[in-house]
């Protein structure tokens, strides 16, 4: 058989075999074979493996993996609370304090600018506003650098000797800046939960419920002793049942949101642009106390109302379709 092969064909086959063998064992593996047998300390790093690793890193996926996201979240948790204790904080002039408040809010606003994408959520709620990746170019964040403090004499980190506020650095009182990736993660997780919640509610609870409500003959088949079910599927109790369901569903949603906020440290202020702008207005300028808090509450109520209205609309549409189909038959 080999006599029939030309020299060129033989060389080609041998070349393929060599490639396969190198690919199978790897460069480092082959060097290990040589070095291992002689108890040598020579390096077994292979130029072939380096080349392969260069190729894979250049074509790697840029999106943050779950482990990277968890690391980011851990970093947010581990960021030490840099606020000075109230005992050490000297008294600052109220006018200066108001100005410092403005600067603080500018710093936070700059952080939020980078996160805000403006995409509306599933039900148009403010809190559902997608905080996706902004198209803004990255700008040097001078205020966040100020918030970290001035560098020391050796140029590393915040130096105690360069504190122009005499010990109390109001910038350091700000809540730890949440990376935009974490905000994005927070928003997308929340939206995911909302979508699943809605899907389960609509497909497995509301749809069958609407079917039984719109088919009165079903009630007739039930035994008179089964008062709970009769009450449940009675048209008169439709809104009661729907409200109960909404309360349960919204509670679940807010529980999840609270838990997630604890984990990611993302607050309503970082999510919403309006709240962020309101936070910038110092106390005393507008004659409404705690405007930010009140607006936040309004948004929360709006959110709940939105959720209820969407489900109600769904029920009405399904009811209409089912009634129409039922009448056809």
């Amino acid at each position: 058989m080999s006599a029939e092969l030309s020299a060129a064909e033989k060389q080609k086959i041998l070349r393929e075999r060599r490639k396969q063998k190198f690919a199978k064992v790897g460069g480092s593996g082959r060097l290990n074979k040589i070095v291992g047998k002689s108890d040598s300390l020579l390096s077994t790093e292979s130029p072939l493996d380096q080349k392969a690793s260069l190729k894979t890193s250049s074509s790697g996926d840029n999106s943050a993996s779950t482990t990277e996201m968890e690391q980011l979240i851990n970093n947010v948790h581990n960021t030490p609370k840099t606020s000075n204790s109230t005992k050490n904080e000297p008294e600052i002039d109220p006018a200066l304090k108001a100005q410092l408040d403005i600067f603080k809010q500018f710093a936070q606003q700059q952080q939020q600018e980078e996160q805000f994408a403006g995409a509306p959520g599933l039900n148009g709620s403010a809190t559902g506003a997608g905080a996706g990746a902004s198209g803004l170019p990255e700008m040097p964040d001078l205020f966040s650098q100020l918030a970290k403090g001035f560098p020391g004499a050796d140029g590393t980190g915040a130096g105690s000797g360069a504190d122009i506020f005499g010990g109390a650095n109001p910038f350091m009182d700000a809540a730890p800046m949440v990376p935009p990736e974490v905000v994005q993660y927070h928003t997308s997780t929340l939206n995911q939960f909302k979508a699943r919640n809605t899907f389960i509610k609509w497909v497995f609870i509301l749809l069958p419920y609407m079917y039984f409500v719109t088919h009165p003959e079903f009630l007739a088949t039930l035994s008179t002793e089964n008062t709970f079910l009769i009450q449940l599927f009675s048209k008169n109790n439709f809104f009661t049942v729907l409200t109960t369901l909404e309360i349960i569903s919204i509670s679940l949603y807010y529980q999840f949101k609270q838990k997630l906020s604890k984990k990611t440290k993302v607050t309503a202020t970082s999510e919403s642009k309006i709240l962020g702008l309101l936070k910038m207005i110092p106390e005393g300028i507008i004659p409404i106390r705690n405007l930010h808090g009140k607006v936040n509450l309004v948004f929360q109520y709006l959110d709940v109302f939105n959720l209820f209205v969407v489900d109600l609309c769904f029920c009405l549409i399904v009811m209409g379709i089912m009634t129409y189909v039922h009448n056809l038959h």
Binding site: S2, A7, Q11, L14, K21, L31, S40, P47, L48
Partner: protein, 351 residues
């Protein structure tokens, strides 16, 4: 499909397609002897073709190997009609370039440019001559010259064999096409932005920098294509049967594979074959042969699909055309320690 791999270089020696053959390995393993042997065998088996043996090692040995002086210009080996040798001398090549530049400068008149500032190019020549890697660069220029001749149909040689420098230098030389391509790309970007300014710096002469660079880039690309074509270029690794040499050979092969350069043959030199030599078989030789056998088995295992040629340690130095011819025959037909054992004692003394 199963077949045994011939433990000789007959396929390579009879090859009609190969244009570039590199012979390299760690220092002191017998690269020059092997490259001369390959060149002699190819010239003998293919008498109708012309072969050129170039030494790219700054510490040239070709002249000593053949017992006659070779220079930067190719010259035929005495006794061989179709084999020429060349030893590239970096300082002489730079001097030539310098002389040409000075002559050109003088004919164009002084323009107050950079060349004038550096004293008519003399200082520049001294500076560039001591740059590390200049030897490899000059060897590379020689290759480019031959490729250009080949393109123009003026190629004098059908195959060029390189007796390379020890491993590190050779790898730098082989990286040159890639390095140069990147450099030229960057330089191209610069000249497109700074072209007129650069021209004034170089004395305002009619230097078409962009044109020259593009030409250089094209030539470099051609070289890269040829060096990575397994039918045109191959690298023969030379080693001895010892740990460091084996390790170095493996690293060299892997490095060459990363450059997509074909390596299919390995010459294992200086083997004792002590058990076959009953007459000359001291304790030391037996001990060394035992050590060599250990590494030979590793070589056989690692390089199963390579042409592994096992060459004997001769009793004397392999210098001069006759001795090289006697030694080189074992590259074509593998050495049989029983049948060919006497040959290693029949080398002529070079007086």
């Amino acid at each position: 499909m199963d077949f045994t791999v011939d433990p000789n270089l007959s396929d390579l020696i009879n090859s009609t397609t190969h244009k570039w053959i590199f012979v390299g390995g760690k220092g002191g393993v017998g690269k020059t002897t092997s490259s001369c042997s390959i060149a002699i065998q190819m010239a003998t088996k293919q008498p109708e073709k012309q072969f050129l043996l170039i030494s790219t090692d700054p510490a040239h040995n070709l002249s000593d190997a053949f017992g006659e002086k070779f220079g930067k210009d190719a010259r035929k080996v005495t006794g061989m009609e179709n084999l020429s040798c060349m030893e590239i001398d970096p300082s002489a090549a730079l001097k030539d370039m310098n002389d040409m530049a000075v002559a050109q400068n003088n004919s164009n008149g002084s323009n107050g440019g950079l060349a004038d500032m550096l004293g008519g190019g003399g200082a520049l020549a001294d500076l560039t001559g001591s740059i590390p890697g200049i030897d490899e660069a000059l060897s590379f220029m020689e290759v480019m010259k031959h490729i250009k001749k080949q393109e123009e149909g003026e190629m004098s040689y059908d195959c060029v064999i390189f007796d390379t420098a020890p491993t590190g230098h050779t790898l730098r030389f082989l990286q040159l096409p890639t390095t140069l391509t990147k450099l030229l790309d960057k330089f191209g970007e610069m000249t497109s932005k700074l072209g007129p300014m650069l021209n004034s710096l170089t004395g305002g002469g009619n230097m078409d920098l962009t044109g020259q660079m593009n030409e250089l880039k094209v030539n470099v690309e051609k070289i890269r294509e040829q060096f990575t074509d397994p039918d045109l270029t191959t690298f023969v690794c030379v080693c001895i049967s010892e740990f460091l040499s084996l390790y170095e050979t493996e690293r060299l092969i892997q490095e060459l594979n990363s450059y997509d350069m074909e390596v299919s043959s390995i010459i294992v030199n200086q083997l004792l074959f002590a058990e076959y030599d009953e007459e000359h078989n001291c304790k030391r030789c037996q001990s060394r042969w035992k050590m060599q056998k250990k590494y030979l088995s590793q070589i056989d295992d690692l390089y199963e699909d390579f042409h592994v040629v096992k060459m004997p340690l001769c009793a004397g130095e392999i210098r001069g055309l006759n001795n090289l011819k006697k030694f080189s025959q074992f590259l074509y037909k593998e050495y049989d320690p029983v049948a060919d054992g006497k040959v290693i004692y029949e080398l002529e003394d070079k007086k």
